[in-house]
Symmetry: C2
């Protein structure tokens, strides 16, 4: 599922800069030699963390003030300007849960939408320990819970969980015992 998109051309212009999204446009020459204004978006990359605590994995039940129902997610958030994704992953994990980890590895890097320059980085953080209180902003309500590896894979059947690239991994693991063991080793060590 990891797939890198064609970048926005270097001669494109930023025509709008919002709170999250930037809109970029350029004049594109077509196959019949006419031209047309093409448009794509940029947004900050995001990170999420498979946080391993002993033999359990930390997931979050989260509510947001503009969403009607709670959802299940991994700790994570936006990469700040100039920040590298691993630093963002460590910062977001600590802010959102109070956990720090010793052993970090990148699992997936996935560009989910063709018309948006946006990569989601999924890290595995092994040997994680709670060493502080969470620092949530006023737009988050989060309850952390520790689940078993099997419960983690079963998120693919939970309508409150929405992550196509993780769901893809979980569905293969559900049917293929060898792949499930590979994933167990990758995540739990």
């Amino acid at each position: 599922m990891a797939k890198k998109r064609d970048p926005i051309p270097s001669h494109a212009k930023c025509v709008f800069k919002g709170k999250i999204f930037e809109v970029w446009q350029w004049e594109q020459k077509l196959y019949d030699s006419s031209t047309k204004t093409f448009e794509r978006l940029k947004r900050p990359d995001t990170v999420q963390v498979v946080t391993v605590v002993g033999d359990k994995i930390l997931i979050l039940e989260e509510t947001q003030p503009d969403k009607s129902t709670p959802f299940l997610t991994l700790p994570g958030g936006r990469v700040d300007p100039g920040e590298d994704p691993l630093t963002a992953a460590k910062r977001e994990l600590h802010e959102e849960t109070g956990y720090s980890a010793q052993d970090w590895s990148l699992w997936l890097a996935h560009d989910p939408v063709g018309k948006i320059e946006w990569t989601i980085y999924t890290y595995i953080a092994r040997d994680s320990k709670e060493d502080a209180e969470p620092h949530l902003d006023g737009g988050e309500r989060v309850t952390a819970q520790l689940v078993t590896f099997d419960e983690f894979l079963a998120l693919s059947n939970d309508p409150r969980f929405y992550d196509p690239s993780l769901t893809h991994e979980f569905v293969i693991a559900h049917y293929d015992p060898a792949y499930k063991e590979t994933l167990r080793k990758l995540i739990l060590g």
Copy 2:
């Protein structure tokens, strides 16, 4: 995988209208009673068509002037303003391939991105026949090919094909023979 997102609130304002994307913002009250400007996007819904021709399925190899490599896709495109998705599916199939179909049904309706009001409708068009030449615009180069049902499912392993919700269906069918038969019946009749 089909999941309907929370709509943009009715008091939100459109702060930018681009060629494809609109940017909407509103002042959101947070849990601590502070407020913050929230942002989401709208874009035209899109349609795609599983076009059944005899016992084969029509897929397209497409190149676009801003993409470095060809990709595999189903016939489809954007829903025009005021158009219903089924009408758009019939129009796009005919424009892009010259095919018309007798028997239409909606298979999937999928909102792929949380922050964008955007639904992808996947139709099944059975008993399809070529009755015209394709009418491509200058931004498309398309080669149609007919594939078997098994070749269609195998698109989930082709790096030139990118469709998370179809890939999800194909992966389950790959491992679960009963689901594969359900899908065969759904598509081929």
